[in-house]
């Protein structure tokens, strides 16, 4: 049973991962991520890449919604901005992959800053509606601007890194997963800084935060900017992964998907973003596998497919009722169980 964590230096007190157990588990996780492409088939690699992209975007949304308390339904639009920027840079400028991704993030960030301006005046559902407007405007631009290929969209050549075309799930895994890991670590670190703590103060009570000297507009805009940057980079990865970007690639429902991911995973928790993105991406796929084994005679796939959608919906509702703090809270309880074992909370 763990009794306490004695911190003897300031450095130890400031470290992101502070126990030996955490270090061991993180090393195991890193080793698993590195080994995974060598043991998984194309299907699982595809899903791993998709999960990683969704984790990156969900983490961005969690910075804004979970940590700063600003609801947004514009995440898909910002991903679209990033994806189109990467596609255009790749096709017209031929700049290196990492520069393109950075460009995608920056353009999305600018979009986020613009959309974030109303956040000083409106909150909650009102802000959510304001961010929906971003989706409509972005869709209009994507569909009508010659530069973005109109409704046909743009076909993106494979990402090229160190002279290698990343044209299979195996190859592009080595771009997507490391970038996502860096972004997640960046977000985790953010909340140990003055900026991150200002976000949390704004979420908890913005008037009190202002009294404490936190400039609301600056930090709210910064939160929008950072969140959109994450979405932009995730969108860029998306563009390299699917290699086709059209105005219909980033519908409003995608923003709802990410909002659902952070609610199911756990608002205001980096782990929640990861678990939520995994849940929302993987559960429909795993339900497919499960229904495939059900003893339904005849044409099982045709009969059971609609049921799967219902089960997925019920699972989400179930989480909201039985664990409103999300999957991250379940994980915390699991950890606590082992920390306190053999005693029970």
């Amino acid at each position: 049973m763990r009794i306490a964590t004695a911190k003897q230096t300031y450095l130890a007190d400031e470290s992101l991962f502070d126990t030996r157990t955490q270090h061991v588990w993180l090393a195991l996780l890193a080793a698993s991520l590195a080994l995974f492409p060598f043991v998984a088939d194309a299907y699982w690699l595809y899903l791993a890449c998709l999960v990683a992209i969704n984790v990156a975007s969900a983490t961005g949304l969690n910075i804004l919604t979970g940590y700063t308390g600003l609801v947004s339904l514009g995440q898909a639009a910002f991903m679209g901005l990033g994806a189109y920027t990467v596609a255009v840079m790749e096709l017209r400028l031929g700049t290196p992959v990492l520069i393109n991704l950075l460009g995608g993030g920056v353009v999305a960030m600018v979009g986020g800053l613009l959309v974030g301006i109303p956040s000083l005046r409106v909150k909650g559902l009102y802000l959510a509606i304001a961010t929906i407007a971003a989706s409509f405007i972005a869709h209009f631009i994507f569909a009508n601007w010659q530069f973005t290929g109109g409704t046909t969209g743009l076909q993106v050549p494979p990402a090229r890194l160190l002279g290698v075309d990343l044209d299979t799930s195996f190859k592009i895994y080595w771009l997507i997963v490391p970038v996502t890991v860096l972004m997640v670590l960046g977000a985790a670190n953010l909340f140990r800084t003055r900026i991150g703590r200002a976000f949390i103060a704004i979420r908890d009570r913005d008037i009190s935060a202002e009294v404490l000297g936190i400039r609301l507009l600056r930090y709210k805009l910064l939160s929008f900017g950072l969140s959109s940057f994450y979405a932009g980079v995730a969108g860029g990865l998306w563009a390299y992964f699917f290699r086709v970007v059209t105005p219909e690639s980033f519908p409003l429902i995608m923003s709802i998907f990410f909002l659902a991911a952070i609610i199911v995973g756990g608002m205001g928790s980096i782990l929640g973003s990861i678990l939520g993105a995994i849940f929302m991406t993987m559960v429909p796929e795993l339900l497919k596998l499960i229904v495939g084994w059900l003893p339904v005679g005849g044409d099982a796939l045709r009969l059971v497919s609609p049921v799967r959608t219902i089960v997925f919906g019920l699972l989400i509702v179930g989480f909201l009722i039985f664990e409103p703090h999300g999957l991250a809270e379940i994980w915390r309880r699991v950890r606590r169980f082992f920390h306190l074992w053999p005693f029970r909370t």
Partner: protein
């Protein structure tokens, strides 16, 4: 509030998922010489109405082929996955099916999927694909060498409609009403030029949101243009009934027309009395059509006594053409590579579909540019032929 404990909730949640992951990795038994037809099929979601028919059509033709002993002794095996009409789910299905089977043919569910997976098809070079999309962009053998479509592309569908109009009423005024989607905008630019070439006048173009409900201002615009024919595209049903109903009440004399996805008999008949006279282009014959010699339609009616949708016909034709391609490629003693199979497909000239399409068909480019104009007869509750088969050169 009830708490979920490690020993109960979590393990109950994770156990089936873990089991699923473990078992999915297990290899699937497959006869080495099976011909595999994979499919990203929208069995749930917004496009399920079509996906269910497509699935049934493919299943039935695969059964017919296998009951006859397969193709040169090799069984045809259909491996579908539900996609709910989402591109990422379609790609996941493709990856899953191709990593567990040696796939020869594939059916894709959307334009988005066809475009997304094209790079993978070109890279691997061993799968021939068709699907639900009739996007004009896909009708490009240089860019999409491993794909084809099961009828005319959307611009060709407009071409068939415009040729019919030009013949019926030379110099007629036409209106294009389309959705603000890639699907909706697809044939508009090309068809504008063709209309002019055929001596028709495009009186107005109206773009609406897909599935929009209130179209009263657009109907007024249509009345102002007073076209002889109004062609809808990029919708399944809504907002067509609104346009037709309001137009009739305003005394518009225009004749309304649709393209493939609007033209299922049950879809048109949902308009009720307003459906009377609604016309459109259809590359296949309807389930109930008994005109002439049509052994394959007869067979379908024997297998399924109830009405089957136009989606069913499309799925059935997909499996039929895949089978013909496999037969021709194997007969020529060639490997089943995408290039060889596409060459075999391109070699199909004047192919008899057993009545599924009213004239012998040939592949041109990546499409089958043939169709017929049908008209709704509300008393019969059926779409009936309004023209002969029109084959684009």
């Amino acid at each position: 509030m009830k708490r979920i404990r490690l020993g109960s909730g979590l393990s109950r949640l994770l156990a089936p998922l873990g089991l699923a992951a473990a078992l999915s990795a297990a290899p699937i038994a497959q006869a080495a010489d099976d011909l595999v037809l994979g499919g990203s099929i929208p069995l749930s979601g917004v496009f399920a109405f079509a996906g269910q028919g497509i699935h049934a059509g493919i299943t039935d033709y695969v059964k017919i082929i296998n009951d006859q002993g397969g193709i040169k002794g090799r069984k045809l095996r259909y491996v579908p996955e539900d996609t709910a009409y989402k591109v990422d789910a379609s790609v996941a299905a493709f990856k899953k099916i191709t990593s567990q089977n040696k796939v020869n043919f594939y059916y894709g569910d959307s334009t988005g999927f066809s475009k997304t997976i094209n790079a993978e098809l070109n890279r691997t070079g061993d799968i021939l694909m068709t699907g639900a999309s009739f996007a004009t962009e896909l009708n490009d053998p240089a860019k999409y060498p491993a794909q084809f479509m099961l009828g005319p592309d959307y611009t060709e569908m407009f071409g068939i409609l415009l040729r019919y109009i030009a013949k019926e009423k030379p110099g007629a005024k036409v209106a294009f009403v389309y959705s603000d989607t890639e699907f909706g905008r697809d044939p508009i630019a090309g068809s504008r030029a063709l209309a002019e070439k055929l001596g028709l006048k495009v009186a107005t173009e109206i773009m609406t949101a897909p599935g929009s409900v209130d179209v009263s201002t657009e109907v007024i615009k249509l009345r102002r243009a007073d076209p002889d024919f109004t062609i809808f595209h990029g919708y399944v049903l809504a907002p067509i009934p609104e346009f037709v109903g309001q137009g009739k009440r305003m005394g518009l004399k225009t004749r309304y027309m649709g393209t493939f996805w609007t033209m299922d008999n049950s879809t048109v008949m949902q308009m009720g009395e307003d459906a009377e006279g609604f016309m459109g282009v259809m590359p296949y014959r309807y389930y109930y059509d008994t005109e002439g010699d049509s052994p394959m339609l007869k067979k379908i009616r024997e297998m399924r006594p109830q009405y089957q949708s136009t989606g069913y016909m499309q799925g059935f034709l997909a499996a039929m053409l895949f089978s013909e391609v496999a037969k021709r490629t194997l007969d020529a003693g060639k490997d089943l590579t995408a290039a060889n199979m596409k060459a075999a497909l391109d070699g199909i000239k004047d192919f008899d579909t057993g009545g599924l399409i009213g004239v012998p068909i040939s592949i041109k480019g990546n499409s089958i540019p043939v169709g017929r104009i049908y008209r709704a007869d509300v008393k019969l509750k059926q779409m009936v032929p309004a023209s002969d088969w029109i084959v684009l050169k």
